[in-house]
Amino acid sequence: MSHGSTAKPIAAIVGAGRTKFGELWYDNPEKLLFEAGLQCMQSVDKGINRTQLQAAYFGSFLYQSTNKIGLIPGHMSKELGLNIPISMTEAACASGGSALYNACVSIRSGLHDIVFVGGFEKMTDRANLISDDLMFAADPNEVNAGYTFPGLYATMMARYMYDYGKGNEDCGDAMAMVAVKNHHHAMPNENAQFRREFTVDAIKNSSIVAHPVRLLHCSPVTDGASALIITTPEKAKEFTDDPIYIMSSQQATDAISLYSRESLTSVKTTKLAVGAAMKEANVTYDDIKIAEVHDCFTVEEVMFLEDSGFYKTGEGWKGVYESYESGKGSKHIPYLNEGKELIVNPGGGLKADGHPVGATGIRQVQECWAQLRGEAGGQQVDGDIDTALAHNIGGTGAICTAHILRRNI
């Protein structure tokens, strides 16, 4: 495939793996990570030995509060049987993306050539208190205002619908269509937590969690882990003839508090991180055909479409609505805009595949890796795709990582 980009890759993915997502009752967090890691090692076409790993970066959010464990480097040293440098990243739901960002820094700097990256979360063990635990990723004043995470996103959604929907019911339908589309995408995904179709009415009539957010606007509480092995672009072909290159790795941060932000209807860190990633990779939406987007709540996917430049500000919901109406029934329902097509969350996204928060950022890249190699199984996107974007958000947008991957350089 041809493309106009002259950018050089910063790293390459030579292996990727993941567990099933869902309520994984019998597995401890480190066991999940071990399982994803093993699958990742076994996915390396030409083989890799664990002793070749020079460092490891892990992402997780709630292990200390929910699972009452700490010192993950020690746990993972024990599992791997290695004494290499291991770092832990906590950035709420962007813990996985941030671990990959750190791993890329390590590769870019020349410090390491072969790095293991993992993300994990075991949330269902404390399902009754998980709403409390998740609020560690919110501002204390938001905690004391009685907020929950659905409540915070509901505040964004309410203002978005007020400013841009202006009473048009289609805007509310668009918020539901994101969920319908992602559940539809997850149907063939054997690892997905929810393989079940929903109608727009079913989403709009599901139980209220934090009005206007309803249960089926929300991503679920999930257990799961995911893993990658990244190397320098130069070493990649020692492990596979089909590496997936990381063309850009960017991260941006903003105030943890929603109320301190410039806008409640867009996410500044998405604009900054995705904008920088596109610039670094020298790509546009003419090149990017699939995107793994952080759809923790459906409004976040709508905002991404605007913040990343696919749709104009305030018009994302219209694009979602019109794209859904013209694409429903097909295997994947792409977003359409002026001749451009973008398939978002081809495996179901956080909404249907599941959202074990620390694992999500890595799982998104694993999905892109599989899609670009044509190995995504039932959810494989039709046609020849070359470039993918992974977008991972922490909190209500306090942090965002963006990675752009490419098969052919």
Binding site: L129, S131, D132, M135, D139, P140, N141, E142, V143, N144, A145, G146, Y147, T148, P150, G151, L152, A154, T155, M156, A158, R159, M161, Y162, G167, I208, V209, A210, H211, P212, V213, S257, L258, Y259, S260, L264
Partner: protein
């Protein structure tokens, strides 16, 4: 959130303290030491929004709350806009429908209210904040706090300002009422004696137009204190900034008192004495009577108790009512009590009534008139402690007062027995309508037992300050009051 973080946060949240860049005008909440725009060279000034009005910017109706907020069920929380700063906060005194259209809330004006955030169980700390907002077009009107330069003239000690607060929620008694009480106030789930006290104190400061740093002592009388050990007055002083500020605290003192229903009125004479005492070093004392009156479910009291508070500021400048005469009468009478650790008070045998209330109120009132060399006809308004709507009328009639003199103070019929807040609130209702030169007799009663009887004379100042009150009867008859059933009532009572 850890307890130390919560404590440090309270110093910001009680007043909604922010910082404002003196160069570019950017405002930061919580306060920052430097401006993001101007950098570390920026000059930052402290501002607060305690007396301000904002607007509801966006929010959500929370139906599946975190564990600390389960006591509220459904509630509206959101982001508020105050000037050019946004703040997070919960809407209080409002129970939204689970699927109310949020659009109908966006843009509505809101006012900060000092309310309970949550409590760490029954034996942990109780956390408060002013990041709770009521809608300005509902029960609470906005009151502007304008400091008035005190007069240079020193007068006879008396009341320089007062503020009465009764909650929005009411429960009706069937038919003609029980013991004359037809309806009563009850707290919202996030209210307690501490929040009542702050609200009443805030209104008193607004009414007096007084710089809060001039208030050097605060007494809070209550028989339903939030803590068995930890004074409400310290919270009141911190929130209302009573006394000269120094570091995180204030140069002022005070104490919480208990003497059943006369815990506050007993301190009126002490407050008036203090402002006249040179070594005190201050000119103003605040006295608050506040109660979420407790009664065991199904007990006779459970049909007469109310909730609310009234605060008085005593001083010697710009006095609206001078304190002219005082008599107290006390005897060890076991009519009503609550043992340490018990949730509800109990009556002691058959002591309530003649040997307790009537004996003490009548003795004190008669002695007071005798001491003042006055007859009932010399008094314009007569107020008695109101455990119900019958006792004060019966007692004061025996002294010789007429229905016309007694009726204006019989607010208990519509708000219930406010325990320590009872007489102070009745007095507020009378002060709302009294004219210069009027005389007011007030005979408080506290079980255990004792009665304080006072005579006040209203001055010209009352008219000048009247526009700065929220009259008690406006609250009693507010079109925004909400009636609830007994199940809701018990839930609110037990929530506190």
């Amino acid at each position: 959130m850890s307890e130390p973080i919560s404590r440090r946060k309270s110093l910001v949240d009680y007043r909604i303290t922010a910082s404002k860049c003196q160069d570019c005008g950017s405002v930061y909440f919580p306060p920052k030491s430097f401006c993001d725009v101007e950098g570390r060279a920026s000059s930052m000034a402290s501002v607060d929004y305690f007396y301000e009005q904002g607007e509801f910017y966006s929010g959500s109706i929370i139906s599946a709350p975190t564990s600390h907020f389960k006591y509220l069920d459904n509630y509206l929380t959101g982001v508020a806009q105050f000037g050019n700063v946004k703040l997070p906060g919960r809407i209080t005194d409002h129970i939204p429908g689970q699927s109310d259209d949020i659009n109908k809330y966006i843009g509505r004006l809101i006012i900060p209210r000092f309310r309970r955030t949550y409590a760490d169980g029954h034996d942990g700390l109780v956390y408060y904040s002013s990041l709770n907002f009521s809608f300005a077009d509902e029960y609470y009107p906005l009151q502007e706090y304008v400091e008035i330069q005190p007069s240079k003239e020193i007068e006879k000690p008396g009341i320089v300002g007062y503020g009465a607060y009764i909650p929005k929620y009411r429960i009706k008694n069937d038919g003609k009422g029980i013991l004359g009480v037809t309806e009563r106030t009850l707290p919202f789930a996030d209210e307690d004696t501490t929040t009542f006290s702050v609200e009443a104190g805030k209104r008193a400061l607004i009414h007096a137009g007084l710089n809060s740093s001039y208030v050097k002592k605060c007494f809070v009388g209550s028989e339903s204190p939030t803590y068995a050990v930890k004074p409400i007055m310290a919270t009141v002083s911190q929130v209302l900034e009573l006394g000269e500020k120094f570091e995180d605290g204030f140069f002022s003192g005070g104490v919480d008192t208990q003497f059943a229903c006369k815990a506050a009125t007993d301190l009126f004479i002490d407050a008036a004495a203090l402002v006249n005492f040179p070594a005190f070093g201050g000119e103003h004392v605040m006295v608050i009577g506040a109660d979420n009156s407790q009664a065991a479910p199904g007990d006779a009291l459970d049909y007469t108790v109310g909730a609310g508070a009234t605060a008085y500021i005593f001083g010697r400048r710009d006095v609206i009512a001078t304190l002219d005469h005082y008599v107290a009468y006390t005897s060890d009478t076991p009519d009503f009590y609550r043992r340490e650790g018990q949730k509800y008070p109990r009556h002691g045998g058959r002591f309530t009534g003649q040997p307790a209330y009537f004996k003490h109120v009548l003795t004190a009132t008669n002695r007071l008139l005798e001491k003042a060399d006055m007859k009932p006809k010399d008094i314009d308004y007569a107020i008695g402690h109101s455990p119900n709507g019958v006792f004060p009328q019966r007692a004061l009639s025996r002294v010789g007062f007429t229905k016309e003199q007694i009726e204006p103070g019989l607010v208990a019929r519509k708000i219930g027995n406010l325990y320590s807040g009872s007489c102070p609130t009745s007095l507020a209702g009378v002060l709302d309508i009294a004219m210069p030169g009027d005389t007011i007799l007030m005979s408080a009663y506290g079980s255990g037992a004792g009665s304080d009887a006072y005579i006040f004379t209203v001055t010209d100042q009352i008219l000048e300050k009247r526009e700065r009150t929220i009259p008690l009867m406006d609250q009693v008859e507010s079109p925004h009051r909400e009636y609830v059933d007994y199940t809701f009532y018990r839930k609110m009572k037990d929530s506190v």
